[in-house]
């Protein structure tokens, strides 16, 4: 609605694994949700920065106190360092979107931040507090709702946003979704990583690999259903690079999220008014990083056969769908509304 050079609207998808920002000045960025502080004076001298964020932090992790401060899509609590890390991520996102925090002529920032559909209200309050000094006004919305809003899928649609920490569901029925319209499951990218780690360790007990290697393999090769190619990766065994076929492990790990996701999909569909169920069944939208798992939409469609079939599609830009949707909300809200939500 009202926008000027003095105001910057941003949509942020604060993710357990990756966080993205879409800004009204046209900037769009995605970063890894990692923050690290040099562990000692030597490290500080080497990295030449007091704090590192994103891929840069991940790559310098041996010299850093590295944090991945979000868990299941929300801030970890009980650790001041993790809360500080979330602030660093948010500050970094705003910076890369072109806002200089310390500039005297800096624009007023109106931020819409996506959180898991069933995030505790206290978690939302904590996040709101964390935004102080980073944005001028803040709205928190559920992640799948932000996706739906951005796609204008406001009526008879089911959005499933599968990230690293959570899989979030939201049925859109032409109104602001209630608790009953939304669900959050912990079965998402991270649970696949855990499963994959366990399966590979069992089959290749002598192989050495880190959680970062597991994530990289998953992001490159993840699939459900029949494999197109064998998945062969290289990892050291007693120091010697060794090829391992992990096709079955990748499939089993990725398919581990299917039963809860499909059950929740069917359950939410069954709660829609009967005359609209067909429309919603045929308008299932998948978003989030884990929606890129090859064959996922087909597998969900297959699970709908027992209730008469349906259609699931992956959004064109799953990584930015949440932040783009949040930006759309930020732009559409009136200045009067934003005034009510100033920090």
């Amino acid at each position: 609605m009202e926008e000027s050079n003095d105001i910057l609207c941003v949509g942020i998808d604060l993710g357990t694994s990756r966080s993205s920002i879409s800004a009204s000045n046209g900037e769009r960025h995605v970063i890894d949700s990692y923050v690290g502080w040099p562990v000692d004076m030597v490290a500080r001298k080497l990295v030449k920065k007091p704090v590192m964020v994103g891929r840069e932090a991940l790559e310098s992790r041996s010299m850093l106190d590295l944090r991945r401060p979000l868990e299941r899509g929300i801030m970890k609590e009980g650790s001041e360092k993790d809360q500080e890390a979330v602030q660093e991520i948010l500050r970094h996102l705003i910076n890369v979107a072109g806002i200089k925090q310390k500039s005297k002529s800096k624009a007023r920032v109106r931020a819409v931040v996506g959180v898991p559909a069933e995030a505790f209200r206290v978690s939302r309050q904590n996040l709101r507090n964390t935004m102080e000094g980073i944005a001028d006004s803040v709205m928190l919305v559920s992640e799948p709702f932000a996706v739906a809003y951005g796609l204008e899928a406001l009526l008879h649609a089911l959005v499933i946003d599968i990230g690293a920490g959570t899989a979030d569901f939201c049925v859109m029925q032409g109104r602001y979704p209630t608790d009953d319209d939304q669900r959050t499951l912990p079965n998402a990218g991270d649970s696949i990583d855990e499963q994959l780690t366990k399966l590979i360790s069992e089959r290749h007990p002598e192989a050495q690999f880190s959680i970062h290697m597991i994530r990289e393999w998953k992001e490159r090769w993840s699939f459900v259903g029949d494999p197109r190619n064998r998945v062969v990766v290289t990892a050291p065994v007693k120091g010697k690079p060794t090829d391992m076929d992990i096709t079955d492990e990748v499939r089993t790990a990725c398919e581990s999220i299917l039963p809860p996701v499909c059950e929740t999909t069917v359950d939410l569909l069954s709660k829609v008014e009967p005359e609209f169920q067909d429309k919603v069944k045929n308008n299932i939208i998948l978003a989030g990083g884990s929606s890129l798992i090859s064959g996922l939409a087909d597998a969900i469609q297959k699970s709908l056969k027992e209730i008469g079939g349906g259609r699931a599609v992956v959004v064109k830009d799953p990584v930015f769908a949440g932040s783009d949707g949040s930006l759309a909300i930020a732009r559409d809200a009136s200045s009067a509304d934003w005034e009510k939500l100033s920090l």
């Binding site: 505790f120 309050q125 032409g174 602001y176 559409d332």
Partner: protein, 343 residues
Amino acid sequence: MGTVDETKFRILQGVVQDNIGVRQEVSQDNIGVLQEVRIQRIAWRKQSVRPWLLASLLLAAFAYLTRPSSVVSTGRVSGANAETAKAAPLNIDQTPEAAAPLANPRPIDRNAIPLSVKRVVIDPGHGGEPGATSQSGVSEKDITLDVALRLRRLMAQEPYEVLLTRQTDQLISLDKRVAYANENKADLFVSIHVNWMEPRSIRALETYYVGPTDDPVTLKLASMENKDSGYSLSDYKKILEKIYVDARHDESRVLAKTIQTQLYHALKRANPRLENRGVKSAPFVVLIGTQMPAILVEIACLSNDDEAKLLTKEDYRENIALALLHGINSYAKSLNGPNTKGS
């Protein structure tokens, strides 16, 4: 059917109102959460409300209806060590619609309602399966049963009726333990467990009462203790937010505090490096499902070899049982003056 713009406008108003709620909760120290939960808990407990709880709710409702219109308070039904609520002026920024649901009942002294502890259900954790096991082979199931049997013997000398969820090494699911306590209309539920923690140098004592937690360590512990419940942790998070300030929650917290205090004082002489980790809230299944004040106490850490050794000593286990008895006595006295059987 309205246009997309009309639908968007309606939805945006929902987003803004929801966020105004969160903002006001931030500025009013979670008072909105308390009010929301207060309404929800009546529905949550309508099938199972006990006379003492009904009395407290009625008094709370009476206080709400007769409160001075110019003040709200952050109080809750409180005990002998009551946290007295501070009256706060109504925020002038609030719209009337927003202000009304934020008003809270005034605090009521728990002593206004005669309460008693007659029947106590003791729940020795695990059984059938070992639970945590020390390196030397001491099993959680054996320690918890031994302490529970000792506690029953000690309590038999006091005016209590004591019931045990298990008296032998048998597997009993968590929901059956909960049902047993509820069907027997217990006044208190005390679940005894032994912890297993990393690093193994830790010797910790901690007591839990029902409530949400975002502490990853506590969540992991709850997840482990809940593993045969048949539900996922995410199911409980939603419920828990709604019973955040249940009167039972407050009573459980008081009971947890008295038991934790007694245990720590009783054991630190024999176990000087024992760490008092205090009382915490967590979503343990046995605490969620029970309809009376309920706590789960982790009496030691089997991961620590020295503590495991101490647990093999009869007098140490007797001390634990005695401290639990003193904790229960102390709580019972705080409810209604001197010992309360038959009152």
